[in-house]
Symmetry: C2
Subunit: 435 residues, 2 copies
């Protein structure tokens, strides 16, 4: 063994031990990124450091919304943990302050809040509300989507492996993509006709329509961009059939899209229910459902809903700290500006490369279709690019039906300078593909 390989062996042994110990406790199926999993030991803002001391620019993680190891969030959680942390069957002012601050960012119709511990719990609850309100069970979802890990959500999962078959009450619809090479002139018309057919099918089968559940960024789908008139068109049809509109803003919320605080506001609609998760507490587990006074009261009258960990002073303090940092640092406006800068720089980069198709995204959630020279999806190339970007010190991932859309969704404290570093490395990685 040369001294070089000995050094490598010494450096990788702990990670291999850790992996073996993980397999012996969490099992071998618990998902991990990368060919060689990355052990990350510290973070700061948009930067992460691995066990070998290597630093990475985080172009992927949206949960640490206001930055890794944010001290404002840590201070708020720490102070509250040392004071009191109890459930909402006692009064606490912190949860009310948080609810008021959060609801102030929503439209006039959406002024009530259920708190939960995750996006899965939020989508579960929103579906319960919709089923009970409508008296129907039918659900419309996109045909490549994921909304959480419970049974009810597994039954409508179309974008990830689950054992449960698609529910008989579920109708997946194809989201029209104005950026697709084959998008025809009748894209909107055809897509809405498909929705009409799905609704008719649910009604004929006796399920009726309880809800349309969608991610305003259609991110799992590969950051699809529906034509104007689609989302509001579906919403109108679902409501006409007696169903409710649920915007799953776990990915698209909290200013991520740059132009507005909530993804649904891009379409000029007000959903009946908005579900929240990932970035809400910067990693502290917080989720929620924002809805109307009528829907919340109706559900509350008929169900004793209680959630032990949700709405505690500590989870509220974490949520408040995130809103406070966003406001003080102007992160939504920054996402708009940096996002526009990125889009401007991605287009020429895409034009130069034979392996880049559409440039996608909004604000600080952007993507690139990675394709073969003939335009067909190239998942293996996308995978190779992600691994190459890791060796270049930048973390990104991929999504979409063909797993070929690069997914870049950094913490919101990502600046123009960070963007330029990411884009420089991405440019080099794409150039390398041309050779």
């Amino acid at each position: 063994m040369t001294s070089d390989t000995a050094a490598i062996a010494a450096a990788t042994r702990p990670a291999q031990d850790l992996l073996a110990r993980r397999h012996a406790t969490l099992g071998s199926h618990s998902p991990l990124f990368y060919e060689t999993p990355l052990e990350l030991v510290s973070g700061n803002g948009v930067w992460l450091t691995d066990a070998q001391g290597r630093t990475y620019l985080d172009g992927y993680n949206n949960v640490p919304h206001v930055g890794h190891a944010n001290p404002v969030v840590a201070d708020a959680v720490n102070a509250q943990l040392r004071t009191i942390n109890l459930h909402t069957r006692y009064l606490n002012s912190r949860v009310v302050e948080y609810a008021e601050a959060l609801l102030a960012t929503f439209g006039d119709g959406l002024q009530r809040l259920f708190l939960t511990n995750s996006g899965s719990e939020a989508n579960e609850l929103a579906l319960r509300v919709a089923r009970q309100h409508s008296g129907n069970t039918g659900v419309l979802v996109s045909d490549f989507s994921y909304h959480g890990n419970t049974t009810s959500l597994a039954e409508l999962t179309t974008g990830l492996q689950v054992r449960e078959p698609l529910g008989a009450h579920v109708r997946p619809v194809r989201i029209p993509d104005a950026l697709a090479a084959d998008a025809g002139e009748r894209l909107l018309e055809q897509a809405l006709a498909e929705v009409d057919a799905a609704i008719a099918s649910l009604q004929e089968a006796g399920h009726g329509v309880s809800a349309f559940l969608f991610d305003p960024l259609f991110s799992t789908e590969g950051l699809l961009q529906p034509p104007a008139g689609y989302v509001d068109g579906v919403a109108a049809r679902v409501r006409a059939a007696g169903g409710l509109v649920i915007a799953d803003e776990v990915q698209s919320g909290f200013g991520r899209v740059g132009s507005s605080m909530w993804g649904h506001q891009m379409f000029g609609i007000e959903p009946d229910l908005v579900t929240l998760g990932k970035p809400m507490g910067n990693g502290y587990p917080v989720g929620g459902v924002v809805t109307t006074a009528d829907l919340l009261d109706e559900f509350g009258r008929n169900n004793m809903y209680f959630n032990t960990f949700a709405g505690t002073p500590v989870s509220s303090a974490a949520g408040l700290a995130v809103l406070q940092v966003m406001e003080e640092e102007g992160l939504m406006a920054q996402a708009a500006g940096v996002g526009a800068h990125i889009a401007d720089r991605l287009r020429p980069l895409a034009a130069k490369s034979t392996h880049v198709g559409a440039v996608r995204g909004r604000g600080l959630f952007f993507g690139l279709d990675i394709v073969e020279a003939d335009g067909t999806p190239a998942p293996a190339l996308a995978k190779a690019l992600i691994e190459d970007m890791k060796t270049r010190g930048v973390l990104i991932s991929r999504v979409g039906r063909h797993d070929n859309v690069l997914k870049m969704r950094p913490p919101m404290v990502f600046t123009r300078e960070h963007a330029d570093q990411l884009l420089e490395q991405l440019g080099l990685a794409l150039e390398a593909l041309e050779k």
Copy 2:
């Protein structure tokens, strides 16, 4: 207005404002304890202080397992929040350390862990595992129980108001209570015959049996005490029918019963799945499912299960800190000793009162049936006692089918001295009932 009433008005006004603001954001159905809700602003160990500066002995809350505002937990969470907090798709040593420490407290067969954010998520997941493994859907639950707030769990909720009708695949069974005044000699035999009938009914209807889901303390039911041979008898029958045994240890786990770390160990059985929640992170949202290597691998092969907030370094640090404090302070042994002391003192107190029936519980979870002079349940008296105990500076609650069983389940740092204070006030409150 006298100066006294003016002072009272001034002191209660903020609480009324806070309640109005809460109603305007969380709605009026979100449950609150007490006729006049209590605003608690700080805690320390077993003590809580309200907004008016009044101190209460906490005889009720089990989430702050190692004590309110525990500094070891706060330090661990704070240090980790300032270092890194990322999901399990990257390696982190903290989650492996936590899994190893937690699994060391389980039997040889139960050596794999799924982490979740709540008991609801844990029970959801355990049911998914059981349904997929058995190929069946039928579930046996007690006829007065609660296991969480999702749709699947609402469909088998029998002990709390939900709008969803009981699922066609659910068979509620009455838990036999050896402490009931009318418990006959054939109690065990009759109860097991009811289980046999429920299993036969599920099989005839084509649902088959996927699981028996139970709380080893039968706490929602009113701390029922099944005769020896019941729990293991049900487990054997369910397994013979191809189903799995799920112990919901959200209430009974983490040394609460005193004699063992896990409630199921009281019955000498090893369940197929054990679900965890409330005390796991001392208020930081952590839940989990402990199961066998085979069941975890089978589920992992067939489902991409991922849970964003679960198993992060911070949630693992919180869980580790709880185990560490339990170990260092010998809290399980303390629960056994203090629990035995309480039971010894409750019996004469019950004998003296015309309004106390059975003395119930195990370790630091104990109860008293509050009854009329003729032995029938007395929920109004139980409610009055709880309100009276509040004015005496002690927090307790009630459970059970008739809402007449006093529920006393303090943080595990509750000592003999705290117990004596609670018992003294309880004795006075019961004496007052006799007048």
